[in-house]
Symmetry: C2
Subunit: 248 residues, 2 copies
Amino acid sequence: MKNPVIGIIGGMGPQAGLDLAAKVIAQTRAVTDQDHLPMALLSYGHLIGDRSTYVFGESSENPGIAIASVARELSSLGVQVAGIPCNSAHAPQIFDELTRLSKGIRILHLIQETVRHIQETLPDMTRIGCLSTLSVHRLGLYRSALEDAGYTPVMPTDEVAEQVVHRAIFDPGFGIKAQSAPVTDQARAMVLSAVAHCRSRGAESVILGCTELPLAVSHAKDIPLIDPARALARALIRETSPQKLVPL
Amino acid sequence: MKNPVIGIIGGMGPQAGLDLAAKVIAQTRAVTDQDHLPMALLSYGHLIGDRSTYVFGESSENPGIAIASVARELSSLGVQVAGIPCNSAHAPQIFDELTRLSKGIRILHLIQETVRHIQETLPDMTRIGCLSTLSVHRLGLYRSALEDAGYTPVMPTDEVAEQVVHRAIFDPGFGIKAQSAPVTDQARAMVLSAVAHCRSRGAESVILGCTELPLAVSHAKDIPLIDPARALARALIRETSPQKLVPL
């Protein structure tokens, strides 16, 4: 039986598309090149306007329209299920528009898949922390998804979100976007201190809700970390070729 | 002006496709997501038979036929220039067939682009070493391309090619294919010893002629190393959006 092609709408930024593709490969049961699942990645970031700018009213063109045009290109290749490795593209005003315009292809929801992953892998936890960029933090994307699923979200204070998490990602000197191979000790220490901050506020696990954060830390002392890209990668396999999914 | 889409025929293996895409991103002058070049990666390894098996007469179906079918899918997306991050797919009996069947899209030649890269970046050198898998070594793909360009190829002895380079890549315990994140100390030491072996035979620089090798070493003492995937990434940018190429 032919395995369906997994679609990835990349380019937001381009590294995040590759990161999701790498996680699909890592979560696939495969020994040979031929065992791996077919995957189509369209990294068309040039078409897609900044998501935060739109959501905060600083630009008027909904990036969901361009994302849907990429989804339709994937659909023309026969892709039926795709993912978007960009948190802010999942703001309702963007995601609703892009799914409305993407007939014939199903886009899995990064944030809802992350919550589902927590339900499946950490069934006894109720208080979930989340680190993210300032725009995802302010939009409350993870907070509302966690609440809808019955969790108590444990967000960092606005000060930590701004001075610690956002700076660890965006600082032009030591931030992860500026230096990711390898990540600087300072950025890593800041991310770990923000994890500890959520823990001190009662979080039992912490979502790394920005595609850059798992580059800095994969594990923390005494508390599980959740990588949304890994959750989405597993969901893409589950929805296309479940027999190929590496057991947890 | 719209930048043409860069095509990547991946899946041979799947990581090599991501590695080439990452090198295109790294070699692109870009600050924002929107600055990056459009890229389409089709990782359809399930369609494409083993290249070495065919070249050595152990299977009868030319993998060039399936590779060309992927090239035509890229062409249907509007892609005009593409690359294949797999050395053995460039054996003449495969590459000639796939280019014959890939009308409307130009496939850059990984090995010829590597030689061109040496001509441009190391103009005074004449003796070039090359490490590769045993099949690429036996096919003499780099050896003949170097000779055609007027270089003196400096290959490892068959014993080193088999017992050191091939094992560093394929050993099921410590090899790079089995353990790449991170690469084992043993594999790294073996690759470096093979580099030193080529140097002791007179090589002035050494090509890492297998997509796994740059995962183990990026620099060596006293001798420049050449990464074909990086050369191909730069060639893909040069042939589509030369103004976007990061200076050497």
